[in-house]
Amino acid sequence: MGLIKFEYRKLWNKVSISALIAFLVFSTLHTFIYLNLQWRTLDGNGEVWEGLKAFRLLKEISKDVEGVMDQQYLEGLVEDYDSSSEKRYLDINGEHRGFLGTGGMTKYMFPNYCVNYAYYGPYMTNGNDKIGLGYEFLSSERSFYDQYKESMKEDKLMANEYGGLFPYSAHQISILEDKIEKVRTPFTVEYYQGIANMLSWYEIQFPYFLVVLVFSLAGIYAKGSEYGVDELTLSSKNGRKKDFKAKCISGNLFAVTAYLIFVAVLMLEHGGIASLHGWNASAQVFWYDCIYNITVGGGAILQFLGGLIGCIVIANLVMMLSAVTGSGKAGIIAALAILYALCRFYPSYGMKKIFNPVCFGNNFVAKDGMFIGEILVPCICITFVLALLYITVFEVSIRSSAKRYHIGGRR
């Protein structure tokens, strides 16, 4: 235990602290500059508010559309929207036709996009043309949710056709239909823009966060580096086996700590700008094709958990490269090259991405499932099993390198 503590302390050195601070500065600038300059809110008077205050205003005016999406809610929504100034402003043939696709926001985004998904299904995007409510299925709650589930099914089947690992069998389709049928209705609508921003920024910045791990952990088994391995380490009382094990555990602990700092900073920033209100909204209001009965908050936690698993896998990969190369610089170059290849060349669409640890923080881990035989397993469980597999391989490599580890001599 003492050894782990000392190794962990060693990892908080000038390199890792510089990398983490540089990353957090980048993350903060990226968040504030983009949210401040690009986003704007349309209020009920047809006025557009820009800057960070636009989010606070959106939260305030969105109280009108919060509630349970039942028959009464849908009737009220259609009536309100039809007589609203927003509808006139967002007219697809008008001068503001690009408003919603370019950072424009309105309170009607939260319920109306969900309704439009029922109509557009796999072709759903955001934009002025997909905010209207002129659909016959809105005449009753039941017909709306029937239509919604049909669209969800169509979406899932299309996703499988174009990006699935294997085509669904007839039995698998029936299991999927059953699962979709069990999606709990009516949905709860809440303002969730702060959480949406946070998760969106999280997905963008996650691969860059992994660069922090590369710089911090690439020297953990490097020969002669300040916090790597030297003659004293190898001749210590505990022996190299225990020391290498302690380094590995502390490396993982470091990765978890740095990840928690990253997530905490994101939560603080986005909570401060747009608030983290909306944790209890139904996941389907945010991830329209989510087949699980979870809330937006629950989905966010699952996504963060997926990211944590991915971060631990990458941390072990970096440590393995450090042990194999025995050099901090070579470890960094090799790890950055692998990370770049995983981001640039590995497909980020379809279910193939489930094998890529850089994608473990994407939203599919929260909302999707994958068939293993005839069982529909949540993606988060699959990423967990895959992570165990990857980590085992890396651990074996580290141990094998540890056995042959020499300082100053040839292996």
Binding site: S18, A19, F26, H30, I33, Y34, L37, Q38, V211
Partner: protein, 388 residues
């Protein structure tokens, strides 16, 4: 002094680094060439896949160059066969100018080819959502644009490929070169040179001066060498024909207001890239002097470049106009100089972004050099004790 420069030069840029540098450029350029050629691949009317290499070979062999208006007026009907590269080029220009196919053009429309281009440019300037140009500025830009009066259609793929590829190549070159100088002022735990450095015969001042000289001198040499290798491979592969054609012959540059040729565009890009290199090197030096540890410097610089990359991807006019335009990454995204027509207004004068950016880059370099000098001077005057 010469001996210090020589020793430091060998330390930072040994022969292996030069060889690695050359190899990386070679691999990048050859890969880029291959990708570039594949963009010319198409499926013909009979459903046959025509390889991009054959398309280029065919176009190069023809050695023809004809003004676009002659083609449109039907004076050179034999020049255009539907599967030729020239046909594709003319079609792209016609589509950009008229939103029509070549066959749909009337003689009157074909005659007004340049007038129509100018009217598009004027309308774009008037309706611009980013810059509000005044009448004088619009007239000036339109006047420049109207100097393009003889767009030639012919084989110029070598130079156009060089100019297109520079947007990917130069940022990587700058990143690579500036990272090479991290060990100049960065302290490596393994090397532990400080004891020797502070006991050097000529003292720290000359050593610091030699290091700054090496950073900019060797940076210049590496930049020249890298660019020469890149251009040589490209020209060897695509040929050097058509360098004097107006850049507007390429669909991407059709609405550019600058009446310049591909070769002139290359030299403009080259010069701006050189200024960007100095900015990148000066940032590297100041970070290394302040942070000292090599690895920590690398991490900070890595995130600095990530920030520049993400900033460019965000593509917000205000941040670009006031910040990213003067940073090495966006400085080398050359297309925006020719297409976005961003202007800076200083003392009642409107300055185009190309000139203004290079001036600000020079100011940044001198300011950072001033900061470096101040930091080093302060350190030289500080009493130094090894291990203290």
């Amino acid at each position: 002094m010469r001996s210090i420069i020589s020793a430091e030069w060998k330390r930072v840029l040994p022969l292996q680094i030069w060889i690695l540098f050359s190899m990386v450029i070679l691999i990048f350029t050859v890969y880029d060439d291959k990708k570039e050629k594949s963009t010319y691949t198409y499926v013909d009317a009979d459903g046959n896949l025509i390889d991009g290499r054959d398309v280029l070979k065919d176009a190069r062999q023809k050695k023809e160059m004809i003004p676009v208006e002659s083609i449109l007026l039907g004076e050179k009907k034999d020049f255009l066969t539907e599967e030729s590269l020239n046909y594709l080029k003319v079609q792209n220009l016609v589509e950009a100018n008229y939103s029509k196919q070549i066959g749909e053009l009337t003689a009157k429309e074909a005659k007004n080819f340049y007038e129509r281009r100018i009217s598009h440019i004027r309308r774009n300037l008037v309706e611009s959502s980013t810059v509000s140009y005044n009448k004088k500025e619009i007239d000036l830009l339109v006047e420049k644009a109207s100097q393009v009066n003889a767009i030639m259609i012919g084989y110029a793929e070598g130079w156009s490929s060089i100019n297109r590829g520079m947007e990917k190549f130069v940022p990587l070159l700058l990143l690579g070169i500036s990272m090479m100088f991290i060990p100049l002022f960065g302290e490596d735990a393994k090397v532990k040179m400080n004891e020797f450095i502070f006991a050097a015969k000529w003292g720290r001042r000359q050593l610091d001066f030699a290091r700054i000289f090496i950073a900019f001198g060797a940076g210049t040499l590496l930049y020249l060498y890298g660019m020469a290798e890149y251009v040589f491979i490209k020209l060897l592969d695509f040929g050097s024909e058509g360098g004097n054609f107006f850049i507007q012959g390429e669909e991407r540059m059709f609405f550019s207001v600058y009446p310049i040729s591909y070769i002139q565009q290359f030299f403009w890009n080259f010069t701006i890239g050189y200024f960007a290199l100095f900015v990148a090197i000066s940032f590297t030096l100041i970070v290394c002097i302040l942070i000292k540890k090599t690895m920590a410097c690398s991490a900070v610089l890595c995130f600095f470049w990530i920030f520049l990359l993400v900033g460019d991807q965000m593509n917000i006019y205000i941040t670009n106009h006031y910040f990213f335009n003067f940073m090495p990454y966006r400085m080398t995204k050359f297309h925006h100089y020719y297409l976005e027509n961003d202007l800076y207004r200083v003392g009642g004068e409107s300055i185009n972004s190309m000139v203004f950016t290079t001036c600000v880059a020079a100011i940044i370099v001198f300011s950072v050099l001033g900061m470096i000098a101040l930091t080093l001077w302060e350190r030289q005057n500080r009493k130094f004790v090894i291990g203290g």
